[in-house]
């Protein structure tokens, strides 16, 4: 019988991800404080939102002068992917109804990646719990330290910390660019995001750039439809 990996190995892998990504909460804390959010607001974001890309997107949009709802919309659309991780995880983990509202806050890129990589349910549950706990605790702790540190640093841009946000986005994006479709979506989104930046209110160009996804999907569907017609 395949018993999967020993528990200790799953814990080690989970801690590796949890600690590495958890420490980058420091970059978020600094970026958020540098964007003008208070200590309390910065910590509230990490405690309550707890999905890094959305947090970076929100503070970036607010710093750029976006309206609160436009900024929140961009952050929300980035968080939608977590619903699909939840779908996969709920089948894999088989959580009881009472546990689900608590487990939900930990449904993010990293916990899903670790849990879905385990061959057994026991491994997936350990991987999810250990990654979720270590990441949640560290991410919030380093957010606090980063926000406090930003006050001591003064001009955070002089330390190059305004490059942390785009680097985080790029690191999340890179593994998603698997096929020509993903690259076409990314390319069109960059053109829309940069091209509309000078003309639309802050935060809106990103929302328009999101349309690259359905547009490319529709164009591909049409092309494949045309190929099928041609084969007949």
């Amino acid at each position: 019988m395949d018993r999967g990996k020993p528990d200790a190995l799953v814990v080690r892998d989970a801690l590796g991800v949890g600690v590495a990504v958890g420490l980058s909460g420091f970059a978020f804390g600094v970026t958020s404080a540098g964007s003008g959010l208070t200590l309390l607001q910065t910590c509230a974001l990490s405690l309550l939102v707890f999905t890094g890309a959305s947090q970076f997107a929100l503070v970036g949009a607010l710093a750029a002068g976006g309206s609160p709802l436009t900024a929140a919309a961009g952050a929300f659309f980035l968080g939608v992917r977590n619903a699909f991780y939840g779908l996969r995880l709920s089948q894999l983990l088989r959580l009881t109804r009472a546990v689900r509202p608590f487990a939900a806050q930990w449904v993010i890129d990293e916990t899903a990646a670790v849990a879905l990589a385990q061959p057994t349910r026991r491994g997936a549950r350990i991987g999810f719990a250990v990654t979720g706990l270590s990441l949640y605790v560290l991410w919030n702790l380093t957010t606090l330290l980063g926000a406090l540190g930003a006050e001591a640093m003064g001009d955070t841009n002089a330390w190059g910390l305004d490059a942390a946000g785009p680097a985080v986005f790029l690191a999340l994006l890179a593994p998603m660019l698997k096929s020509a479709t993903e690259r076409a979506v990314a390319g069109l989104a960059v053109v829309l995001g940069l091209g509309l930046l000078p003309v639309l209110p802050a935060g809106v160009p990103v929302l328009v750039a999101a349309l690259a996804a359905p547009v490319v999907l529709w164009a591909r569907g049409r092309r494949e439809g045309a190929v099928r017609e041609g084969e007949r």
């Binding site: 939102v49 968080g79 190059g160 680097a167 960059v190 930046l197 000078p198």
Partner: protein, 102 residues
């Protein structure tokens, strides 16, 4: 105050979508088109955000030290560096270029 509204809406929305994934029966969101769209949406958003936060300055597009930093992050990614190293490379190179007057 408006910042708190943004935080509240984002927190509720992001928690809501996480919970929906765990609660809805499998099959509801499992249509191929919905799945494809959900996978491509973050690609579009992350690409646009990366570009804007690299080149954007308010409503202007500029070339400054961030470009070198993000390029360093890209190199680190190609070399399969860990997440933390990728972010650190961007920060250190950006700070370095600024210190040199870039």
């Amino acid at each position: 105050m408006s910042t708190w509204i943004a935080i509240g809406v984002t927190a509720l929305g992001c928690y809501g979508v996480k919970l929906i994934g765990l609660l809805v029966p499998a099959g509801v969101l499992e249509r191929p088109l919905v799945r494809r769209l959900a996978a491509l949406l973050p690609v579009a958003l992350l690409a646009a955000l990366t570009a804007q936060q690299t080149f954007g300055n308010g409503h202007e597009l500029v070339l400054d030290a961030r470009v070198a930093g993000v390029a360093a992050a890209a190199v680190a990614l190609v070399l399969r560096a860990p997440f933390l190293v990728v972010v650190a490379a961007a920060v250190v190179v950006t700070a370095g270029v600024r210190a040199l007057g870039g």
